[in-house]
Amino acid sequence: MTDTLTSREDTHELLRFATAGSVDDGKSTLIGRLLYDSKALFDDQWDAVEAVSAGRGDEYTDLALLTDGLRSEREQGITIDVAYRYFSTPERKFIIADTPGHIQYTRNMVTGASTADLALILVDARKGLVEQSRRHAFLCSLLRVPHMVLCVNKMDLVDYDEVVFKRIENEFKAFATKLEVPDLTVVPISALKGDNVVNRSEHMPWYQGPSLLHHLEKVHIASDRNLVDVRFPVQHVIRPHSGDHHDYRGYAGQVASGVMKPGDEVMVLPSGFTSKIASIETADGPLEEAFPPLSVTVRLEDELDVSRGDMLCRPGNQARVSQDIEAMVCWMDEARPLRLRGKYALKHTTADVRAIVKDVQYQLDVNTLHRDETATELGLNEIGRITLRTTKPLLCDDYRRNRATGGFIIIDESDNRTVGAGIIV
């Protein structure tokens, strides 16, 4: 057993998933159960939660106390911020981005969804779809989370009734067809009783699908990465200036997409110069190929002027080079709205540029998907479509084709805070 555990080559894949929902939906109970049943919840954590719960006079142990890490969250009984949780099974390692579900925390949900392979949306079987469920589904589709799971929870409270489940499933599927949801799975569960969470439920023989955990372990994520378009944002230039490595010049970065091999012809953007990959190096030795998400150092056959913010791609498959950017933006700043003509800093791949808002095309109501074309600014947690003009060209792709080269953050230069997230359309 220890052999496979210590091996780098063990096939434990990493799955990042975001959960959305409020305490009422049983999200904390569900996470608590996943952690507990996979033995990621430790006895001293459990004891601490039990003690606090008992001290407050709760009727049952409040599993939300496990995830609400901040004093003000515990005091107010609400989840404010994204919390990250970890567990693993013999199949996979999981990172949960546990996000609060209320509309005032849209920005946190967007944050959690930005890196997620899968989004888990909870609804209460008694209540069916609510405004919040639709908003979660929309945000996950906007952020192009490749897999979505709708958990219809509290099935025990509706007598495990197939009719109730089917009605919610059909309603959600009808709504999802209006969004871009590449892969949707719907699971009837009871987080409290454990039905279909880890093991298949005996109470719902009419449900033929996998348990939630089984689905999380098996859902195919290897193909979610873009292995077609070679994009290598140069992060850092490695020049040792020392003894054995006098003329060494390597371009360090993380492969954003595509597969790179020594001998491949590459083009450097934005200059347009071409060269060939001489070698792909790591501290453990050279690689025959590099693919996402590996961090490597690429050396070229020719001496070119390449620096941070530049991008390597293939001459026949280049990123877009543009100063005029159309994007959907989620605004995250409490202090000031995004304004027409406003100037901001952008961080996109490894490049830093400045930009001006040329147009606010519309603000989108995340509940009804109604477009308000009269909007001229976007407030906290509002989403809209804007046009930007940047000081230097972005080397980018449509977000829907490439999450790594299609997303950017907006920074307020006066106080350096991250005030918005953008996806290029």
């Binding site: 001293d44 920005r107 060494y248 190929e289």
Partner: protein, 300 residues
């Protein structure tokens, strides 16, 4: 390799290397906290890999409470010599002698590390400080960003953190402010041990089980050493223990264990039911929000 899949440990390594490079490329004066504890040992190893064949392009700093395991200090100095990295020692004893901080009556120096750390950061004008903290350690840490902003008092404001999307880390600061950077944010204790095993990284001996003379204080086993003096009425006995975390020698307890190799430790960690801080750290037992409070003051 042909199906382009990598293990989660390799994915975590790639992420950490990306973070190191991002800081080196965007921050003016980074420094890495290095104590000789296992998490900082893993960080140093990752930093070496991130910039190879070039040397690590920033110094390391140890906030030395003067209450460390001697063997861990030896290890620290040996690793520093091997890697050729510059070591800065910010001494808590020195700060006490200067009257900058006052030693608490109970002799624990954990909390007075913070002003010493902040003073050193100011003196050297560090704008980015790497720490080995992980989100699985503690629930306040679970909410912390990979790039965690600190104001010019070194304070963390958990309710006003910068949103962190994709891998687009915002390391911008004004003079006097800092970013604390946590490359191991997404690692668990087990991941750290597996990585140490797979990379064959040497560790100080305190991490491995051995028979040690201990006293039992509130159910925790403290090894008798120059900082743990036997108190009246305490019984000293021999127990086979190892350390899951290595903090100050007067605050860190050992756990009963027979694990004397990395593989045995991995097997033990995989089966344990107690968190490492819960099992070993007297400093975290103070209150439900002990860590959050210390972090607000500028603690790592």
């Amino acid at each position: 390799m042909s199906d382009y899949r990598i293990s989660h440990i390799a994915a975590l390594e790639a992420e950490a290397i990306f973070i190191f490079r991002e800081v080196a490329a965007t921050c003016q004066r980074p420094v890495m906290l290095f104590s000789g504890g296992k998490d900082s040992i893993v960080m140093l190893h990752l930093a070496q890999k991130a910039f190879a064949p070039a040397p690590i392009p920033f110094p390391v700093m140890h906030v030395d409470t003067g209450q460390n395991f001697a063997e861990v200090i030896d290890y620290r100095d040996r690793r520093v010599a091997e890697t050729g990295v510059q070591l800065i020692v910010a001494s808590v004893q020195d700060a006490i002698d200067r009257g900058m901080v006052t030693e608490p009556p109970d002799g624990t120096r954990n909390r007075i590390q913070t002003p010493v750390l902040l003073e050193a950061a100011e003196k050297y004008q560090f704008d980015a400080l790497f720490g080995g903290a992980r989100r699985d350690e503690e629930k306040a840490r679970a909410k912390e960003r990979v790039f965690s902003f600190r104001d010019d008092f070194g304070q963390w404001d958990p309710k006003n953190q910068r949103p962190e999307l994709w891998n687009l880390y915002n390391g911008r600061v004004h003079p006097g402010e800092q970013i604390r950077v946590f490359p191991l944010s997404n690692w668990t204790e087990l991941d750290v041990w597996r990585y140490i095993g797979s990379e064959s990284i040497p560790l100080p001996e305190v991490y491995f089980a051995a028979e040690r003379e201990v006293v039992d204080r509130g159910g925790m086993l403290y090894a008798v050493n120059e900082f743990i003096k036997v108190r009246e009425g305490e019984r000293v006995f021999k127990e086979t223990v190892r350390y899951r975390t290595v903090g100050d020698a007067n605050l860190t307890a050992g756990v009963r264990s027979e694990a004397s190799t990395i593989d045995e430790i991995i097997a033990e960690v995989a089966a344990t039911r107690i968190t490492e801080r819960g099992a070993t750290r007297g400093d975290d037992k103070t209150s439900e929000a002990a860590m959050e409070d210390r972090k607000r003051e500028g603690y790592f």
